[in-house]
Symmetry: D2
């Protein structure tokens, strides 16, 4: 079930279920989740920090590095889904609303 057929709600259900079984919900306040998200993003930055922009495009072709980066992207995705679950904010609606604002802020070139 890749990105082509997986809905945002599918991923939100996966992480909700994982946390519920472990009784982690009491820890999942928006404050704590935002902090955990920042921590995971810090881990995502780590393999890229000393690379040039060009090198950062190539690193994902190395199978070991690719799996490490995929794991970090998965952790970031997990926290983002938890934040959606625990704030009740629909990510798809939020993104589309923000895009309308961005269209005004960054008008397309003529």
């Amino acid at each position: 079930m890749p990105d082509a057929t997986t809905t945002i709600d599918d991923l939100k259900a996966v992480v909700r279920q994982f946390a519920a079984v472990r009784k982690w919900e009491p820890y999942h306040s928006p404050k704590n989740l935002a902090m955990a998200l920042a921590s995971e993003v810090g881990e995502l930055l780590e393999p890229f920090r000393w690379l040039t922009c060009e090198e950062s495009r190539e690193i994902v072709n190395d199978p070991v590095q690719r799996e490490a980066i995929a794991d970090e992207l998965a952790d970031v995705t997990t926290l983002l889904m938890h934040l959606s679950n625990h704030t009740g904010i629909d990510l798809s609606e939020a993104l589309r609303q923000k895009m309308i604002k961005n269209e005004v802020k960054y008008p397309p070139p003529a």
Copy 2:
């Protein structure tokens, strides 16, 4: 089109199209995108930093605060979708693979 019916690929197409029209792809190396993601997460943290965990649960009920937080979640989502587009890493697959590892790392209570 809410999270219930929006696929990850739908969101990836929205942000890809937005960037393509503005010819932003040359800037979208994984390094730059990871850095931009960290910057947006910093903005998401801002409204929560001086709140208690309890207060952070309630702040999303205030309409003005809710829209501001939704905008920040949208920015984080946008960068995550760009990172998926530019690394070729499928977020749904990455999350499911990571969950298998997490099942071992955090076994469910007996």
Copy 3:
């Protein structure tokens, strides 16, 4: 009073005094301060995110950009000093202890 003659304790006293006058100490738990630090670092990242490494070296020569970056470095410094004040961890000692570990982790070239 530049960096040449300013001690770490001098800066710690400046930020302690600023917070005390405003009665901000109750908000300055290590958790909140770490979160605020991450938020300020996010702002520091912002001007650099789409630049090449070379461009990031030159941007500080522009007076307007330089002042903006100096302001962000000041905010990061402020939070770091608050963290030292509120954890009682001496930054100079911590840095020197960590350097001893780093000497082992990253031995100097022969």
Copy 4:
């Protein structure tokens, strides 16, 4: 040599020397250093993310946790000193200039 007698320039010299011996300067563009700082701050957040504010005040009394947090504060301090070295921005001056702005932004209570 604790914070009471260590100047900012002392710490800047320690980290400059450490990097020079290892010939790391070519990697130390402001962009890379800012990214590394964000990564280290992510590690600092980690022990605090699931704690209440009260618990975050107590965790530093545990010797093992205290050393881990001291190490993370040392890493953050190291990157901040590198950023000062490589931008030529004096942290003490920057902090004092920012405090003048903050006095206006957050006037003291009457």
